[in-house]
Structure formats: structure tokens, C-alpha cells
Amino acid sequence: MSAPVSVSLLVNGEPIDAVVLPRLNLADFIREHLKLTGTHVGCEHGVCGACTVRVDGEIVRSCLMLTVQAQGASVETIEGLSDSGEIADLQAAFRERNALQCGYCTPGMLMTAQDLLKHVSMPDRPAIREHLSGNYCRCTGYQAIVDAVEATARTRAERRA
């Protein structure tokens, strides 16, 4: 019973082969096996959003996905998005507006906000709040986070124009 299973996937573009127990969720695999600790674990049942990562380009809860379910998938973590420069402007906006304090929620917030900005070029504040509604922040009161996302949307729109 519960024999280890082999799994091959890409993490931030790098091929990974591993043998894992079926019960190991993707968040723990990323943090403990790959030592990519930017992905945070809060509730482990899908409600807080701290563990949000991208799988095949779409955001998911890594606490609700088994590592073995990521067989053949391309996983991107906050380290990947950060190192590639994809969200440099969003990160700068978070810093400028104090959209983070303890930082626990921040990787998940950035992942989710970037997902919105990829799909909608100029979201209004209610749309930003709705997209982030599954991500808890216990420090900032959200206002500054919405400000930072809105500001980033605006500068990106100006850059495109």
C-alpha cells in the first residue's frame, strides 16, 4: 500500500524526476524536496491562497494537488516568476505601496494578481478584489494590495499604448 510513485515534471523550466509518496502534496514537494520556500503553506485546505502556483500556465492551489498529479506538467513558482523578471513591476508596486507587511501572503497574492493582469488589461477595483477574493492577507487590510495591482495595470497599459 501507498508505494512511492515516480514523477517527472518541469519546475521553473527545469526538468525534475522524483520518486514520491502519493500523499505528498505539490506545496510540500516544492518547499521540502526542491527547497523553493517562496511558496507558502497556510491552511492546507484551499482557503488561504498562500500556496498558489502556476501549473501549465494556470494558477492552482498547490496544497490541493498531489505531486503525482503534476506528472508531465510545467510548474512555475514565485521564484520562477521573480527570477525571469515577469513580475518585477508588480513587485516594485507592492513595495512602493506597502502592499506587504509580514509577507506571508505575498507570493500567492503576486501569483494571483499576475494571473488577472494576464487575462484583463485594465481591471477595475471590484474586478481586482474579486480575483483576489480567495487570497487571505492578515496584515495589510487589502487596500494597499488593490492599489498596487491597479497601479501596475495602469503602467502596463501606458507602456503598451
Partner: protein, 293 residues
């Protein structure tokens, strides 16, 4: 918390999944999107011996129109319902409802089959399939069974599925001429499970209902197709008649009390939704206010 250890089998086909289910019986659980199963396992409310992952089965995916039915594969994800032109055209109720289901990251993995099989009484999609008069298609060792949505939900997390069966598709009659839909729910925050909600499907002709199906959710141990709708069909809907219907609705619902609301509050909100629904579908805003006595 983390899930208790379990074995894992990746099904290679529906037939293979059924064989695995037959071999492991009720010690196995089917894994689709995992967005209800994994939380329950991480919280150790469930500890199956083996998970049978059907997530890779292309044969359970996709949305197709066959004659006058829309066939929605069990693995169709919430995000697919949101973006599908077929759904928007033939069953927009599902699109309107699924926008209220959880949050984007969860909608990227959660499936319609998983939502219906899970049968949370506060879930949106089960109430929609009642209102749409859909058929649930399941496969088991003895072959295929087709179950009317009205016969499918049996209680909290309980359905007509047996442990050796797989939900494979949902068949929805395509919306005909004059069909109109209404979806609204009360929730504390967008994406939360509803306090009370209503998914409705109507045929409106000459300013009255020639058909009306009201699927209420979070009002009892399963979604309810309200009989009170009968009072409004083929009748001139006056505020007094609507008051009669909301009174009948309050009698027929058996809501539970929990940390979100009392039973009385749920009855009150259900009545408010019924008035809003009638007002919206008949384009008579004054009906929302209710009868003045």
C-alpha cells in the same frame, strides 16, 4: 494537516477506472479536480486506502451539442464552463452560477462531475442541474445508467451513485425559444459557499410563466426543486399570488441552522430571492417589493 497515506492509481481509461473501482470497492475514492476531496483528506475527514485518478481521461472531457441536448463531460472544469461558447448559448445558467463557485485557482481544477458527485447542499451546480432538468449519466460494472437530476441528490454528500460507479457526463436540454434564466445567491464574500441561493429556469410567454423550475440551494440537506413554482405557472402573477407562493416556499423548505444563518433567516432570504426572480424574469420590478398589506 496532511492526508493520511494512501495508494494511488492513474486510470488509463473509463473501463480501467471501473475495474479499479470494482477491485477496491468503498475503500477507493475517485479523484477528479481534488478541490473537495483533498481538503477533506487533508483535514482527515476522509482517509481512503486508494485514490483512482481519472484526471487524465480525455474521453470524460469536452462540451458538445447532440441534437437538442448539450453533453457536458464529467471532467469539464469550472473555468471551462465560464469560457465555453456552447454553454453561453445553450445553458447560460451554468456560466452564471459557476462565476460564484470558489475562486479562480480552484475553478481551474474543480470539475462539474466532482461537484455533482460531492453533492454539497450549498453548492451551486447541483441546484442548476435540477432547474435545467438535466440527466446525470453514470457508468458502472453493469453498464450505463441515466439518472434524472431530480432523483440524483439523496442527502448531505449523498447521491444515487454507488461506490463502483463513475459519473461520466451531464446532459442538459438546450435552451429553447422564450427560455429565461435567473441566478443569484447570498454569500458573505464572493466565492464563498452560499447562505441561500436560487438557480431558476423559466419559459416566459405573454408576460406569464408557461414553465418555471426553481432550484434552491443551501436550504436543506440537498438542493430543492421548489413545488411552490407551480402556483406561478400559467397564472397572472400579482403581488398577492407571489406572496402565496413565497408562503408555500417557506412551508416546503427545511433549512438547517449553522454559523452562517438561522433556519428563519434562510426562509426569509429564499422568499426574497423568489420575489427577485419573478420580478427579473417577468421584467416587473414592482414584484420585488412583495405584497403590501
Amino acid at each position: 494537516m496532511k492526508a493520511v497515506a494512501f495508494a494511488y492509481a492513474r486510470a488509463t481509461s473509463v473501463v480501467n477506472a471501473l475495474e479499479l473501482l470494482a477491485a477496491h470497492g468503498d475503500k477507493a475514492k475517485v479523484l477528479s479536480g481534488g478541490q473537495s476531496l483533498m481538503p477533506a483528506m487533508n483535514l482527515r475527514l476522509l482517509s481512503p486506502d486508494i485514490l483512482i485518478d481519472i484526471g487524465g481521461l480525455a474521453e470524460l472531457r469536452g462540451i458538445a451539442v447532440r441534437g437538442d441536448v448539450l453533453v457536458v463531460g464529467a471532467l469539464t472544469r469550472h473555468v471551462d464552463l465560464l469560457g465555453s461558447p456552447e454553454i453561453a448559448l445553450h445553458a447560460p445558467l451554468l456560466r452564471d452560477a459557476v462565476a460564484h463557485v470558489a475562486h479562480p485557482a480552484i475553478r481551474n481544477r474543480g470539475t462539474i462531475g466532482g461537484s455533482l458527485a460531492h453533492a454539497d447542499p450549498a453548492s451551486e451546480l447541483p441546484a442548476c442541474v435540477l432547474a435545467l432538468d438535466a440527466t446525470i449519466v453514470v457508468r458502472g460494472p453493469a453498464g450505463e445508467r441515466r439518472i434524472a437530476a431530480t432523483e440524483f441528490f439523496k442527502g448531505i454528500y449523498e447521491t444515487a451513485l454507488s461506490p463502483d460507479e463513475l459519473l461520466v457526463a451531464v446532459e442538459v436540454p438546450v435552451a429553447g425559444q422564450g427560455t429565461a434564466f435567473f441566478f443569484q445567491e447570498y454569500a458573505r464574500r464572493h466565492g464563498d459557499y452560499a447562505i441561500v441561493g436560487l438557480a431558476a429556469c423559466a419559459v416566459v410567454a405573454a408576460s406569464s410563466f408557461s414553465d418555471l423550475r426553481l432550484g434552491f440551494f443551501a436550504v436543506g440537506d440537498r438542493p430543492v426543486l421548489a413545488a411552490a413554482a407551480g402556483k406561478l405557472i400559467n397564472a397572472s402573477v400579482t403581488p398577492a399570488l407571489l406572496a402565496e407562493a413565497t408562503a408555500a416556499l417557506a412551508d416546503e423548505l427545511d433549512p438547517q441552522e449553522d454559523q452562517q444563518a438561522t433556519a428563519a433567516m434562510r426562509r426569509h432570504l429564499a422568499a426574497a430571492l423568489l420575489r427577485r426572480c419573478a420580478a427579473a424574469l417577468l421584467a416587473r420590478p414592482e414584484l420585488e417589493k412583495g405584497a403590501t398589506r
